[in-house]
């Protein structure tokens, strides 16, 4: 017998476009998949040894909800060094991946605000997280010239319109564009004047060449910023689902309670692997950054020769192109998967991961 109750549940579900937003793959499904959010990469044998030893030594039980202490310390130290954040262990929550960081931050910090200002172009995971329980999102216009980041003026306008919580990516997860230091300072001034708060997705920051300007660095009291990102991206841990939230302790408390309700803790194997990855990160990231930067420079030259329109961005692990529908089909016909900008809110753009297969995508267009 058909169930009307189930029918009603499913009808409401189907009508929820935000919740049904497709997610991009966490890691590539093969060499021709340039759509994934996370980076594939070799796993250092020292990481394998550390994670295995932890499991063999009985670290197979529940651990503290916000994560094991040494990893929280390591993330806090890393953020201090890399982005100038002012964090201690009590500010850090280890999560089961970036999507959990998004979900916990927008849902639990969002509970304290009437609305959340969201850029018109943003990673689809945010819309999905908000689709589960709306926090009254308000759209901020973005600037194509700024690589689809909101302009300072647009942020100021949203604040003037009453928004007190902002979700911002820098670098953009579509284009890799990042705010410059003076722009971050200007955003900070707006936020401080309005006594507002920011959830700042800085997951692509490790792949910015040169200085990276983090909003968290300006929040010296650690009072108004929740910074989120993957834990040690590029170290071969993308499929291990490990990320962080760095936030004021009052926010950590509510997110920790919610994390207990929905997961208890994060996989111990992932946490001990990340702990070791942190030890190796500076050197490994430096090598990878140089390699990616050279690769991307070559790709930009090739794109220029082919007359393609590249969206400017600072993160060297991604490249966004403005393309016609026909050109998007050409890439698909070449068997290459890309991240469709339509999922982010920019239908005439695609995002390609920068790796040894990216040149094939450009060749398909030339």
């Amino acid at each position: 017998m058909a169930s009307n109750t189930k029918g009603a549940i499913l009808a409401r579900h189907r009508a929820n476009d935000d919740l049904n937003t497709p997610l991009l793959p966490q890691v590539a499904r093969g060499d021709s998949d340039l759509a994934a959010d996370g980076m594939r990469g070799p796993l250092d044998e020292r990481i394998i040894a550390a994670a295995s030893a932890a499991l063999e030594n009985g670290h197979t039980h529940y651990v503290d909800v916000p994560g094991i202490g040494p990893l929280r310390d390591a993330i806090a130290d890393y953020l201090k060094g890399a982005a100038g954040g002012h964090y201690r262990q009590g500010n850090i929550v280890i999560t089961a991946g970036l999507q959990e960081s998004r979900f916990l931050s927008v849902q639990m910090i969002g509970e304290q605000y009437d609305s959340i200002a969201v850029p018109a172009v943003i990673h689809p995971g945010l819309r999905k997280a908000l689709g589960l329980r709306s926090r009254n999102p308000r759209t901020i216009a973005v600037s194509q010239a700024k690589g689809y980041l909101p302009s300072i003026e647009a942020i100021a306008q949203a604040a003037s319109d009453g928004c007190r919580l902002f979700y911002l990516e820098s670098p953009s997860r579509l284009s890799g564009a990042a705010y410059a230091a003076d722009e971050v300072a200007a955003i900070n001034q707006i936020i401080a004047e309005k006594d507002a708060a920011v959830i700042w997705d800085q997951g692509l920051a490790p792949w910015v060449e040169g200085a990276y300007a983090s909003f968290a660095a300006l929040d010296s009291d650690c009072a108004r910023t929740a910074a989120i990102g993957e834990a040690y991206s590029g170290m071969g841990l993308a499929s291990w689902f490990i990320a962080y939230i760095a936030a004021p302790e009052a926010w950590v408390s509510s997110m920790q309670s919610q994390k207990q309700i929905m997961a208890i803790c994060t996989s111990t194997a992932s946490q001990y692997a990340a702990l070791e990855a942190g030890q190796l990160y500076n050197e490994a990231r430096g090598r990878q950054l140089s390699r990616l930067a050279q690769l991307r420079a070559d790709l930009l030259s090739a794109a220029s020769e082919a007359g393609l329109s590249v969206v400017g961005g600072e993160a060297v692990n991604v490249m966004a192109l403005k393309l016609s529908e026909d050109n998007m089909k050409k890439i698909s016909r070449a068997g290459i998967d890309f991240a469709a900008g339509s999922l982010f809110g920019a239908p005439d753009v695609i995002r390609l991961n920068v790796n040894h297969s990216t040149a094939a995508a450009l060749r398909a267009l030339s």
């Binding site: 017998m1 169930s3 009307n4 109750t5 189930k6 549940i9 499913l10 579900h13 919740l19 997610l23 793959p25 966490q26 890691v27 590539a28 499904r29 998949d33 994934a36 796993l43 394998i48 994670a51 295995s52 499991l55 063999e56 670290h59 197979t60 529940y62 651990v63 909800v65 999560t95 089961a96 991946g97 970036l98 999507q99 959990e100 979900f103 995971g125 999905k128 997280a129 689709g131 589960l132 329980r133 071969g236 993308a238 499929s239 291990w240 689902f241 490990i242 919610q258 207990q260 309700i261 929905m262 997961a263 208890i264 803790c265 994060t266 996989s267 111990t268 194997a269 992932s270 692997a273």
Partner: protein, 386 residues
């Protein structure tokens, strides 16, 4: 300045936090088995780190793991599911629970919950904006949920019925006849069923667990959760699952993607090894729990404490009403004075201030020591009372 009195999950975490400060503490609270994960599962995880660390995993989980889960729920629970479309892998039973509640609850919807029950159900329901409608059960009847009480609790807003069997914290098992009657009620009133089978391998004496989804007419309206945490001593790996009808599981998949995106690929390969590898460790642990349960019941009998007979699960829910104190106070005194952590019943239900939940997830010498210290604490409380 008076501190706000903690309740529910936050009360438990306060006690856990204090317990960490005692070197000689005996933990009889948290549901974390003392056994480490069996070595062949750890070995499989290590293999996965070498060969599969970059594997793509969809939000619903690796297909080989979903196939292993489908085989397991058929073998153990007699539930037929298609691994392609009717299984979603989760970050432990806790995420499964959260997603299951979200899957069937919109704001204002009522869920019937036999009490006492695991406190996270109330937390998840509150997140979803749902309303918990309690049906009380009692120690005198071994915490049996009476189907007729469930029927009486149904209103025009009732959308779902929660069935946790064996129950946490009361350790009751829903008898097959009762389960059939509850399913009939669910069909009659068109309710969804949320079935929590996480303790299904721990059923004692002649009691029998039946999954509602295995009964005729059950599968299309039931979501069933389980996890590897308790049966394989894998609490730190965070691996569980939900099975159910394909149409509803499509919603569960989207919810899973929204909440956390996926589950660690290493844990998933470890899960495959757990479900498809040797099962002797599971039986060894189950046998240990049978022995320890007997030890706890003997000790409680010696203390003349009443309890509902634990028919399944890994704990005993004992009546401490004779002390005249709230269970939170008794738990606090046991912890502070004797360094024994048991969970107060008030953390599970506001109406269970007369109960303590004690696990039997400790090595037997520690368990015996814990019970002896508990007796000292109770004697002290009673001496003060007189």
């Amino acid at each position: 300045m008076s501190k706000k009195k903690k309740t529910g999950t936050s009360l438990l975490y306060q006690l856990i936090g204090e317990a960490r400060g005692y070197d000689d503490v005996i933990i009889m609270g948290r549901g974390d088995p003392d056994f480490d994960t069996p070595p062949h599962i750890v070995a499989a995880a290590k293999e996965a780190m070498i060969h599969h660390h970059n594997d793509y995993t969809p939000p619903q989980g690796l297909l080989p793991l979903r196939q292993a889960i489908a085989e397991r729920v058929k073998r153990v629970n007699n539930i037929d599911v298609d691994p392609e479309s009717e299984v979603v892998v989760t970050n432990g039973g806790q995420e499964a629970l959260f997603l299951m509640v979200l899957a069937v609850t919109y704001p204002g919807d009522e869920m019937i919950v036999p009490e006492p029950n695991y406190n996270t159900y109330a937390d998840s329901l509150a997140f979803a904006g749902g309303v918990k409608v309690e049906v009380q059960t009692y120690a005198e009847t071994d915490f049996r949920a009476d189907p007729q009480d469930i029927r009486k609790a149904i209103t025009d807003k009732t959308r779902s019925l929660l069935l946790v069997s064996p129950n946490n914290p009361a350790a009751s098992v829903i008898a097959p006849n009762d389960m059939r009657e509850m399913l009939d009620i669910a069909v009659e009133h068109d309710l969804m069923i949320l079935a929590d089978d996480i303790y299904d391998l721990f059923v004692y004496d002649d009691f029998q667990h039946v999954s509602p989804a295995s009964l005729p007419g059950g599968k299309e309206r039931a979501l069933t959760l389980n996890a590897l945490s308790k049966a394989y001593s894998m609490t730190g790996w965070r691996l569980g699952w939900i099975v159910g009808p394909a149409d509803l599981m499509a919603r569960v998949t989207e919810l899973k993607a929204a909440v956390s995106g996926g589950a660690s690929v290493i844990s998933q390969y470890a899960g495959i090894a757990a479900l498809t590898g040797p099962q002797d460790a599971v039986e060894m642990m189950a046998e240990a729990y049978r022995r320890r349960r007997r030890m706890v019941l003997d000790a409680l009998d010696e203390m003349s404490m009443k309890y509902g007979m634990p028919q399944g699960g890994q704990f005993v829910f004992a009546d401490i009403g004779f002390t005249g104190l709230d269970s939170a106070e008794v738990a606090q005194r046991m912890l502070t004075e004797q360094h024994v952590l048991a969970y107060p019943g008030s953390a599970f239900s506001k109406d269970r201030k007369d109960y303590l939940r004690m696990t039997f997830l400790q090595p037997e010498d520690q368990l015996m020591e814990g019970l002896e210290r508990m007796k000292v604490a109770m004697d002290n409380i009673m001496a003060e009372k007189q």
